[in-house]
């Protein structure tokens, strides 16, 4: 057998976690009616700040916190520009990504390859030793379970709480929400900051837990895949889980196939996660009705209260 299914499953879960974290943050941002294309930039800033914190403090927890703060700070630039200064969200998001990539490279000079504190698994070895399900279900660090819990929490808040209802309402029609007296800009800024923190955490997970190293440009498009996942999930948290595992699976599988040298061109395998993302996006977006019903109606529109 070329590929061991159990290790593939384990790898799949690890690979998909950063996608999941970044995507759930972006989902909240988009539900509030804001399109932040800077996910890639916020992720890579989270990756570098998390890594630096891990190296400097030796604490994995602090590293994750630092990653969150890094992403949050970067997203605050986006929040100020788009919400207070009413800049174009597409342009600002792109600028955020370009700036994040540059700044992260600058911050990370001299940090690559430094030894890292280990990330511990939370379940006891006995549980991990259970055949098949042990490594798949229990063989991970806390962050992986947290990511799934975060998806559940976002789902609950969006569908079952008043805060979630208000957030969706703002994303649906900012004029109506404003007329009812909701603070559209404040709500959107908070959503953007949440998205930034999630993307930062996702980047920190990538550098601190998964790769355990800092490499320039190491997110390699994961932020964009996270954005695509939100569309894939038609803005529904649970579908995000499916999407992230699907893409994580492809990414994990193609690496194993490359190692196995089965005769498929390496370029094709390298490109496969991106190609499949494009393919799935095309399939999803061709279905008119469902997409239109779930997409926040005010997505990407600038809000300026005239009175």
């Amino acid at each position: 057998m070329i590929v061991d299914p159990i290790s593939l499953m384990v790898a799949l879960i690890v690979v998909s976690t950063p996608l999941l974290l970044a995507a759930i943050g972006e989902l909240v941002v988009e539900k509030s009616g804001v399109l932040n294309l800077g996910v890639e930039g916020m992720m890579i800033i989270g990756a570098v700040t998390g890594y630096i914190a891990a190296v400097e403090t030796g604490s994995v927890t602090l590293a994750f916190v630092a990653g969150m703060i890094g992403g949050l700070l970067l997203s605050s630039i986006f929040a100020v520009l788009t919400q207070l200064l009413l800049s174009n969200q597409v342009a600002t998001g792109l600028a955020l990504t370009l700036f994040g990539l540059g700044l992260s490279a600058l911050l990370g000079v001299g940090y690559g390859g430094t030894p890292m504190p280990p990330v511990r698994d939370i379940f006891p070895q006995v549980m991990q030793d259970i055949p098949v399900i042990g490594p798949i279900l229990f063989g991970h660090s806390a962050m992986i379970y947290l990511a799934v819990l975060l998806v559940a929490a976002v789902w609950y808040v969006l569908t079952h709480t008043r805060a979630g209802l208000v957030l969706r309402a703002v994303g649906e029609s900012h004029e109506a929400a404003h007329a009812l007296g909701y603070k559209v800009i404040r709500i959107r800024m908070l959503a953007i900051l949440f998205g930034g923190a999630c993307a930062g955490l996702s980047g920190a997970f990538l550098s601190v837990a998964r790769v355990q190293n800092w490499i320039d440009g190491m997110t390699a498009g994961a932020g964009w895949i996270a954005l695509a996942l939100v569309v894939f999930a038609s803005w529904k948290p649970w579908r995000l889980l499916i999407g992230a595992y699907l893409f994580g699976g492809i990414a994990a599988l193609q690496l194993r196939l490359q190692a196995a040298e089965i005769g498929v061109p390496v370029a094709l395998l390298d490109a496969s996660p991106y190609l499949i993302t494009i393919l799935v996006l095309a399939v999803i977006s061709s279905d008119k009705s469902r997409l239109a019903m779930n997409a926040p109606a005010a997505l990407g529109k600038v809000f300026h209260a005239s009175s």
């Binding site: 008043r162 029609s173 239109a292 009175s307």
Partner: protein, 509 residues
């Protein structure tokens, strides 16, 4: 005489270039339906936004139950017992009725209890509503019910209604008035904003009339004639549009079996629409907004393509043609939404002139725009239609609604169309501009063009149309001569195209 429930004392609010409210004072007693009457731009909206906490006044104060009332935001207004039914912009299409109502309440009960309350209250006031339906799927009248129920659940002391009847059929208006009278009898004060005099005379106990931001009169509507109120509101008497009715000529536009599935999820499908318009004739198409007006205009303008033979322009099938080919043949349109549809807000008037006039006015040569003649054409529109603007190089959004509408209508009229279709030509336009626009449309018909006017304003339609038909849920009733139609008959036509099958034998479903 009871003491006032609510009063404003010297409210003033200025925006750059315009004083929206100038020293406005008036009072409402409990259990009174008080009319706030004024033209578009008289300052009604600013005033109610101030009362609802959306706008902070520059000067003056408000008293509610005798104490100073200064809501910092709508939440504070709601907490004090002030509720408002908006004209636009306060419902969320993709959310359910119950969710919409919960969003407008301070402390909504649990979802299940709320649904029960909605059903109960809506039955009590004769406004049936299903809490689980998506607002996007509701008709305009039903949407208004959502807003009203949202207010009633808060048990308001003062209910503000902003132009509530503009989206209702005459029969629905009666139901609404019944509800409002019931509320009044229970002691709720109602501030009723409108520019429709007959309604105010039928419903209101007191009226405050605003003109250019100032209170010009307070009166008891039942004791004053509609003409007197109209003159107070407008400040001068307006000449009614007039024309010499000639015999209608040949059929210029024939529409038959026109069916369109909407592009947007909450759009209205058009179902087997059929009508004819002759040279020299004005056809009025009435109906509450959201019953397929936009879709009909898009199908006629060429923004939506339809089978070729469903639309015949002087016997030429044009259904499959795009907007410019239709323009070349003489079928012109002016859509309802001025900013963003009929005109590009950030472009200058010159640039907006080329938007629809390029083909017929030959404003380009070999694909290159001739900006000189375009500017001349824009200047001609401005001059002929008395568009108030500093010049041709001004962004469209800088113009007032009435002036931009005159520009949009003028742009089409001056191209000498064979057939002109206009949607809501006077919506949100001040009275004198509206009169000028109606006169221009009539003159165009007199000159031998066929004119189709789609409008919600039934008075307007009965005034200028030769024949009248109603668009309801995407169906068009058979046209009837406009002269002599009573409001009841019109109402029945709007409520359902009852004689559609007689008129459209080929359109059997």
């Amino acid at each position: 005489m009871t003491s006032p429930l609510f009063e404003t004392i010297g409210l003033t609010k200025a925006y750059p270039g315009v004083v929206a409210n100038d020293d406005v004072s008036f009072a409402i007693r409990p259990g009174e339906i008080h009319a706030l009457l004024g033209e578009n731009g008289a300052g009604k909206s600013t005033l109610v936004k101030t009362i609802y906490g959306l706008v902070k006044p520059d000067a003056g104060e408000m008293l509610f139950k005798g104490t100073v009332y200064a809501p910092s935001e709508p939440r504070a207004a709601r907490a004090a017992g002030v509720a408002m039914v908006f004209q636009h912009f306060s419902l969320f299409e993709a959310l359910s009725v119950a969710e919409n109502i919960a969003l407008g309440m301070e402390n909504p009960p649990k979802p299940r209890d709320l649904a029960a309350r909605i059903t109960e209250v809506s039955a009590q006031y004769g406004l049936p509503l299903d809490p689980d339906r998506l607002v996007g799927d509701l008709s305009a009248g039903e949407r208004q019910r959502v807003e009203i129920i949202r207010c009633l659940l808060q048990d308001p002391k003062l209910l503000i209604m902003d132009e509530p009847t503009s989206v209702l059929t005459p029969q629905e208006v009666e139901i609404l008035f019944h509800t409002l009278r019931k509320l009044r009898d229970e002691g709720t004060a109602i501030l009723y904003i409108s520019h429709k005099l007959d309604e105010i005379r039928a419903l209101c106990d007191e009226a405050t009339i605003l003109r250019l931001g100032k209170v010009v009169a307070t009166c008891t509507p039942r004791e004053v004639s509609a003409a007197e109120m109209a003159e107070l509101m407008v400040g001068k008497s307006l000449s009614r549009p007039a024309r010499d009715a000639g015999a209608p000529g040949e059929v210029l536009l024939h529409v038959g079996g026109l069916s369109v599935t909407p592009a947007s999820p909450f759009g209205t499908p058009l179902r087997h629409i059929g009508f004819e318009v002759r040279a020299g004739e004005v056809l009025g198409i009435g109906g509450v907004a959201g019953n397929g007006q936009d879709e009909l205009l898009a199908a006629l303008s060429g923004e939506t393509r339809v089978p070729p033979r469903t639309i015949l322009l002087s016997d030429t099938p044009v259904g499959a043609m795009g907007p410019n080919k239709r323009r070349a043949l003489g079928l012109l349109c002016a859509p309802e939404e001025r900013l963003g549809h009929a005109a590009a807000p950030d472009m200058t008037l010159t640039e907006n002139a080329v938007l629809t006039a390029r083909v017929r006015q030959q404003l380009d040569r070999h694909g290159f725009v001739d900006w000189g003649s375009t500017r001349d054409y824009a200047a001609k529109i401005i001059e002929r239609f008395d568009v108030r603007t500093p010049g041709t190089e001004v962004a469209a959004r800088a113009l007032s609604g009435g002036n931009l509408q005159k520009f949009v209508i003028g742009r089409e009229v001056l191209q000498n169309p064979k057939v002109l279709v206009v949607n809501q030509p006077t919506w949100g336009v001040d009275a004198s501009a509206a009169a000028a626009i109606r006169q221009a449309l009539l003159d165009l018909a007199t000159g031998g063009a066929a004119v189709i006017v789609i409008s919600q304003d039934l008075d307007e339609l009965l005034e200028i149309s030769d024949r009248f038909c109603a668009l309801n849920e995407g169906r068009l009733s058979a046209p009837r001569p406009a002269r002599g139609l009573s409001m009841e008959e019109v109402g029945l036509m709007l409520g359902g195209a009852h004689d559609m099958h007689e008129a459209q034998p080929e359109a059997a479903e």
